[in-house]
């Protein structure tokens, strides 16, 4: 074991390049911005003290609410002519997205570690604009390297790209996690370290036509709200 370890160390050390030794000094404004950002939450306790991931979402069934119209958020991001073009695009009716907790055993055992905070979303997408014939379960396991895992039942569309989004319920921001492989039955990847699952709690899949528009198309096929377990 130790010999193997030493071999690895030696091999790694011999792979060091000149570039690996170069250190750049960050511009002064980097520290200034860090200090300013943290001064704003100087009284906020750290995660271990239970605020960041514990407070915003309670351990209960989220009451049904209207399907969220993403057009407002999209308009904040789209150019004027796009806003004009989309003005009449209405995504959703008044039906609800039913959110409920599911057993963690449905997925990979990611939730078996009692030290790992988990968020779970199960999705009823029947009222979405273009629901696909299936459901999904998403789990976020929050530890030092938070992971998002989604399992789909049913087959995702394979004729158009499907993109995965994390969205704030108030639509003030959204983040793309990229394209889901066509026909895939699962997606797994790192949860962005700078996003709080309690804030970016809507997990959304949308059909994104190759029209050059990087904003959400409004054509959601699946959506669920992460709930703290």
């Amino acid at each position: 074991m130790a010999e193997q370890e030493l071999r690895e160390w030696a091999e790694l050390s011999r792979s060091i390049t000149d570039d690996d030794r170069i250190r750049h000094t960050p511009p002064p404004m980097v520290w200034d911005n860090i200090a300013a950002a943290l001064a704003a939450d100087a009284d906020v306790p750290s995660t271990a003290e239970g605020l960041t991931f514990a407070d915003p979402i309670v351990d209960e069934v989220v009451p049904p609410e209207a399907v969220i119209d993403l057009s407002a958020a999209r308009e904040r991001r789209a150019p004027v002519e796009e806003r004009r073009r989309r003005r009449n695009l209405v995504l959703a009716g008044a039906a609800s997205v039913l959110v409920f907790l599911v057993g963690l055993s449905l997925l990979t055992g990611i939730g078996e570690d009692p030290d790992v905070t988990t968020f779970v979303a199960d999705v009823n997408n029947a009222e979405l604009p273009e629901p696909f014939d299936g459901t999904a379960t998403a789990i976020v396991a929050v530890d030092e390297a938070p992971m998002l895992e989604i399992a789909f039942t049913g087959e995702l569309p394979s004729d158009e790209p499907v993109e995965l989004w994390l969205i704030k319920p108030d639509l003030s921001d959204m983040r793309s996690l990229g394209i889901v492989n066509p026909g895939s039955d699962s997606w797994s990847g790192e949860w962005p370290a700078d996003l709080d699952p309690a804030e970016y709690s809507l997990v959304d899949l949308s059909i994104e036509p190759a029209d050059g528009d990087p904003t959400h198309s409004g054509r959601s096929i699946l959506r669920g709200q992460l709930t703290l377990t």
């Binding site: 010999e3 030493l6 050390s13 250190r23 960050p26 511009p27 030092e144 962005p192 528009d213």
Partner: protein, 193 residues
């Protein structure tokens, strides 16, 4: 290469204890973040510069330290040093950055002929981060220990050969190597192995 005797490498599995900075960082000491930034800011920024432009590297460096401070309670010194923990956050932030840059933005950059750093694969990022961490960890070794471990790594010398070449007593060579490996494990923990 010539390997050192297993018995010389490590006498127990006791994790290397936390440094004063690591202790004060997890404790939320007011000065700890600035001290951590002074020690690792250039390292974090330099990792970013390997795959992003200056502006993006500055943004990501800023995000790394803010996220690290807000989540400092997750840092566990028994799993590795503050450096590798920050390096792990940095790696994730860089991946997030490339994920979040829209396909359209990249197309526009190409149309403008704006030179953009090539997007690294996760494996490339991992390898660069590991090598840069090892540089950091070796630089932090005391000079004599660094020389000894360098001879073991790069010159394939045995303890006896190192002792003969340097004039350092054999027992000291062995203990230098053992302690150096402990420090390297700590210096690359979280990322390595």
């Amino acid at each position: 290469m010539t390997l050192l005797a297993t018995s010389d490498l490590r006498e127990d599995d006791t994790p290397m204890s936390a440094t004063p900075l690591e202790t004060s960082f997890t404790g939320g000491d007011d000065r700890a973040l600035k001290d951590a930034y002074d020690q690792y800011g250039s390292f974090v920024y330099s990792i970013c510069r390997r795959s992003t432009d200056e502006s993006t590297a500055a943004d990501i460096t800023q995000e790394v330290f803010i996220a690290a401070w807000r989540n400092r309670a997750r840092y566990d010194a028994t799993r590795g040093g503050l450096g590798p923990w920050l390096a792990g956050i940095t790696r994730n932030k860089i991946i997030d950055h490339f994920r979040s840059v829209s396909r359209e933005d990249r197309r526009i950059d190409k149309v403008k002929n704006t030179p953009q750093p090539a997007e690294p694969t996760e494996q490339q990022l991992e390898e660069v981060t590991l090598r840069m961490l090892l540089v950091e960890a070796m630089d932090e070794l005391p000079e004599r220990a660094r020389n000894v471990i360098t001879m073991a790594f790069f010159d394939d010398l045995t303890h006896v050969e190192i002792a003969a070449r340097t004039g350092i007593p054999l027992g000291t060579v062995k203990s230098d190597i053992r302690r150096s490996l402990d420090r390297l494990r700590h210096g690359l923990g979280y990322i390595h192995g």
